[in-house]
Symmetry: D2
Subunit: 165 residues, 4 copies
């Protein structure tokens, strides 16, 4: 069951850092390499940073860039780290254009650089779902995996939940 | 895709603590509840501590106890935290007797209480594989998932690897 | 050398939390109790939360409140956690009015809740300086201790430095 | 108050690592450099690794080596990281031979590599006491500082305590 996985970085809470000079959160480098090392991940993962943005500031053109990266990737199994606020929106764009690939979007409710982050748990989860799910676009957060058209972010509770039939 | 998962604790490196008085590693309580909280896990997980032992000291009777717990569980999807040294041996016992359930064993190379642990990554991974794999017994470690009869622990390298055909 | 120490909390970077719903930093409860537990601190420390504010938003009235707390404290040795941006300003107010007490202000460049925080190091440092220094008002940051009228925050570098003669 | 400090590493719980292959604790490299970086320590600290041993296995010759290192150091202010079990014994040897220097021994009840370590707090504390105390040999643990001949380790409670008159 050894499969090649593409891991695309787009930013989001996941990768936010604390800026000591300004006291605000910002992006520097991705923590994904450190996280894969911590997880002692033995998968064949090719990591690529597509962008480093807050998903609230992601434009249509950014989503097209992510889609293009998915299409061009030689791998058929792709994990994308993404801000949670517009994760579903990006998933919709990918579902319309990414063809026969298995794409799993994931993120974090708390930056990895914080001790209390769910990031490592979510990364382990997304890398697992992507290996076994059939082609399609999914969102994996906090142990659950949803089809892109069956999920919404409940911004009041700060959780992803299934859209009932 | 909301499924009920049973999570059985048996000890292993995963749950080792540092004893300040003796300077040795020992078992106190499981860290699994804290880990599920950290992962903000939203699955329906029923946690049960079966035992807290080093897997090198696990006897045949212990494996029968774990098997009995799998059989009696109302859930058909079960994750077991287990020491890595004899994880494959326990998997074999479960494969012979656990029937139509999906059972995923996982563990850690480094105790969760250490900053550098792979435990949270592995737990996120095991809880994901167990939701989607067909009935059978599997070992999920460091991003990979193996059928119980296709894996061995390479004790020289400290990694799980597939047994070639 | 067992001395009673008063520990006054005023907020600052030290105690900032990450708000999962808004993605911003805010104040909830102080981390000082957890930090004293982690440091296995065996001093006789009385902790009091005076306020929880960003030091850039601290008003003159707030400084008077802190001063009043120092005066009213039965202890003669006081540590104050404080935002770094106006720490020196508060120190000046205290120096003018706190009389014969030893007061050490400290803080953090990175919130304690971040893995990479200097908070625990600074707290251990401030609690040590306060036990042995003569009456006066001091700022203890990153291993150094300065008299209140000999220090400034270099906001370009994000460090406290001595004011040359 | 900028002073040059010598920091001598001798091992102890402080620097113990977890060996993934054997599941035991051992010594590799010191964590002191990482800790000084985390504490954003701005002191002029010269770090030297004298040995990496469990203090229960420290021989008389080892203590002579530590003493020789203290004597040869150009600095008059020295912090020594040391296992807690025989810290007082080493302090006695140093007190007999180290002359007019201020020497502070410190350590940790839990290895720094564990999330729950008191190491960073103790290091911040020791580096502070050493700057302001008069010549002599001291033990700084968990916020307190004791003269070498006024302290013992209570091995039942796992704490250092003052020897009453």
């Amino acid at each position: 069951m050894t499969v090649a996985v593409r891991l695309l970085i787009t930013g989001g809470t996941f990768d936010k850092e604390y800026d000591e000079l300004t006291g605000t959160l910002y992006f520097k480098d991705t923590h994904v390499h450190e996280m894969l090392r911590l997880g002692r991940c033995r998968l064949d993962v090719a990591v690529g940073t597509v962008m480093m943005v807050d998903s609230l500031e992601m434009a249509d053109a950014d989503r097209e860039t992510i889609l293009a990266n998915c299409r061009q990737a030689p791998e058929t199994r792709i994990v994308i780290t993404h801000g949670t606020d517009t994760m579903v929106e990006t998933a919709r764009v990918l579902a319309a254009g990414a063809g026969d690939k298995t794409i799993v979007l994931t993120g974090a409710m708390v930056p990895y650089a914080f001790g209390s982050s769910d990031g490592l748990f979510n990364l382990g989860s997304a890398l697992s779902f992507v290996q076994v799910l059939p082609p399609g676009v999914y969102i994996a957060m906090n142990g659950s995996c949803f089809r892109w058209d069956r999920v919404r972010k409940n911004t009041t509770l700060g959780v992803f939940e299934e859209i009932p039939d």
